[in-house]
């Protein structure tokens, strides 16, 4: 056969004489590819925004914890509970390391209720920490003042509230100097954080930061009795390394913590070090499931589309039996016929693929225009769309094309 452009021209000519049918046939592929492109670009957009959100937690932090942040599968509570608690003294010691800017111990209680007069907010996180909490976690005190060393030293019952708390408890009042209640305890508000937004769908503004010694008064360590609380209820230490010294800081932290826990050389770490990179990996692990599900859905819709193409190609072969006979009589070889029909199915599904790619991009744009989701189209998605649709065309085109190619010319010529 001659150049591929001529064969493709032939295929296009065939579809022009069956416009409606060709369109309906490609519809399956169009829908499949549209969905895949739209969803992939939304996931990509989500990935990008999560990556930037993780960066917004604080830059290049190292987290020292009792439990692993990236563990997959159920953790072993007992083993974790047996490990020594991390303490504010550990943080003080870590702070002295040469590669470390500061180390902040934080103990937190999620899902707490805050009350002010007759108003209350729920699900608030109470963070027991030090004056460096805002520095490490990228909070900015907008009104009032931040915690200072004296507050910690004197176990003052003061706190900085997040913008969400401020908005809900003090809609039109100035919160500074007001007392609010956590259970029976009163906390004087000395500052309000600037709004920070949400992380993985969770508001980062529904919090109150208080000096950790005061936190211990409200939630005494001796009351943390359940195995879950003993495993997960203690301090985590957020370490801010000097810029460019993350690796060095990790080594120093590990060495110091092992010394503080008097671990012998042959004993494994009884603490965990985590970084934001690991946080991103957790996120990716979570979304991978969704990713696989989407690929499965895409595969199903492409198979359905492919079956549609195969069906119509079989109809086409039957209808054009005589044409095949004529072509063979004038010298078309089996390969010529095979190539002609495969080209037709590939062109059909590729056209569907191209339309699907365009619609998918448009759909992603539309969704990001009308919803908070952000879409990001990457070149590899377009390549994937092309690849998938041509693969479907070839795979589902082979059977009808072979059927066409193997027709007996005489019987084909006699076909009415």
């Amino acid at each position: 056969m001659n150049s591929i452009t001529e064969i493709i021209g032939l295929a296009v000519q065939t579809f022009k004489s069956h416009r409606m049918r060709s369109f309906l046939t490609t519809l399956g592929i169009i829908i499949g590819v549209t969905t895949v492109i739209a969803i992939l670009s939304l996931i990509e957009g989500l990935n990008q925004s999560v990556a930037s959100q993780i960066r917004s937690i604080g830059s290049d932090l190292i987290f020292v914890t009792k439990y692993s942040m990236v563990r997959m599968g159920p953790p072993n509570f007992e083993d974790i509970a047996k490990r020594p608690d991390l303490t504010p003294d550990d943080a003080l010691a870590l702070k002295q390391l040469s590669s470390v800017v500061t180390a902040v111990p934080t103990i937190e209680q999620n899902f707490t209720k805050l009350k002010y007069k007759d108003k209350e907010v729920a699900m608030t996180s109470i963070e027991g920490s030090t004056e460096d909490f805002s520095k490490v976690h990228n909070y900015i005190v907008e009104i009032g003042r931040d915690l200072n060393a004296d507050d910690i030293l004197h176990k003052r019952n003061v706190g900085i509230i997040g913008s969400y708390v401020a908005k809900n408890l003090f809609s039109d009042e100035l919160p500074i100097g007001k007392d609010l209640n956590i259970g029976a305890h009163r906390i004087k508000i000395i500052g309000v954080y600037k709004e920070k937004g949400s992380f993985l769908g969770q508001s980062m503004d529904n919090l109150i930061t208080i000096p950790y010694p005061f936190y211990e008064k409200i939630f005494p360590t001796r009351k943390r009795t359940s195995i879950y609380e003993r495993a997960f209820g203690g301090y985590t230490i957020s370490v801010m390394p000097k810029s460019g010294k993350v690796e060095e800081a990790m080594d120093e932290i590990r060495e110091l913590m092992r010394r503080r826990h008097s671990l012998r050389l042959d004993q494994p770490d009884d603490f965990e070090l985590g970084t934001q990179q690991m946080l991103f990996e957790i996120y990716q692990n979570i979304t991978r499931v969704g990713f696989v599900a989407i690929i499965a859905i895409a595969a199903i819709s492409l198979i359905v589309g492919g079956i549609g193409i195969m069906n119509i190609m079989l109809v086409s072969v039957a209808e054009r039996t005589r044409e095949i006979g004529i072509r063979k009589a004038v010298g078309a070889s089996n390969q010529n016929i095979l190539l002609q029909f495969i080209t037709e199915s590939v062109v059909l599904s590729l056209v569907g693929g191209v339309i699907g790619i365009i619609l998918g991009i448009l759909l992603a744009w539309l969704i990001s225009a009308v919803s908070p989701l952000k879409a990001a189209v990457a070149p590899w998605m377009i390549i994937l769309g092309f690849g998938f649709s041509s693969a479907v065309g070839i795979f589902f085109g082979i059977y009808p094309a072979r059927k066409a190619a193997s027709l007996n010319p005489i019987e084909a010529l006699r076909y009415e």
């Binding site: 004489s17 004529i326 004038v330 010298g331 089996n334």
Partner: protein
């Protein structure tokens, strides 16, 4: 020797019934012959033509085309022989309805790997030769029966075949048009083409220089 068929048999099975279409046909065709194969319907003449035209293979017997055994060829080689050595003209024209007359005529050249420019040139040339220069951009449904058959003849000739088989070429045409088509065949023969007419019509068969009669799958006269 262009074609030599030796004791050709052909059996078909239609469901449970076995039909013996050819029962030992031997014949020879030389270059520039004008031959007709004549016989009533069901006599096996079309089957013979299909075998001679390499569209079909015999169940028994040997067929040599240009002194080469056809049974030795692969499918792809047979396709190539049909493409460059043989031209077919059918009773029902067998044109591709979606293509113009010009494209129909150029079709064998497509499979012969001829480039587009030359395909069009050669198809135009042959169409003017059969008197269709004015109608070559029309599709078959815009052409009369006689015109369609001229297109089919042009298609059969475009690749300069060794031999042209015409199966009841006037069967779908009125008498006057049929006569014109036969005159065209006469002229093509005079120009040096080898032509085999397959027909049940004595008047058509008489155009040929040699007539072979087939009855019940056997040659009833001639060689």
């Amino acid at each position: 020797m262009l074609c030599r068929a030796i004791d050709i048999h052909k059996k078909y099975s239609l469901g449970k019934v076995e039909i013996e279409a050819l029962r030992g046909v031997s014949l020879e065709i030389v270059e520039n012959e004008y031959l007709s194969i004549m016989g009533p319907s069901g006599s096996g003449k079309s089957t013979l033509m299909h075998i001679l035209g390499c569209l079909d293979t015999p169940t028994k017997g040997e067929y040599f085309l240009e002194d080469k055994k056809v049974s030795d060829y692969t499918d792809a080689e047979l396709a190539r022989i049909r493409n460059i050595s043989i031209g077919f003209v059918f009773q029902s024209f067998n044109l591709l309805t979606r293509l113009s007359a010009l494209e129909n005529v150029a079709l064998p050249l497509l499979y012969a790997q001829v480039n587009k420019k030359e395909r069009i040139e050669r198809a135009k040339e042959i169409l003017s030769k059969v008197g269709l220069a004015e109608r070559m951009y029309h599709r078959p449904n815009e052409l009369s029966g006689g015109e369609c058959q001229r297109v089919a003849i042009a298609r059969a000739l475009v690749n300069r075949p060794k031999i042209v088989f015409a199966d009841e070429p006037t069967g779908n045409l009125d008498t006057k048009t049929g006569k014109e088509i036969m005159e065209l065949f006469d002229r093509l023969h005079a120009e040096g083409n080898t032509i085999v007419l397959v027909t049940h019509d004595q008047n058509i068969a008489n155009h040929a220089k040699r007539v072979i009669k087939i009855i019940d799958g056997r040659i009833a006269n001639g060689l």
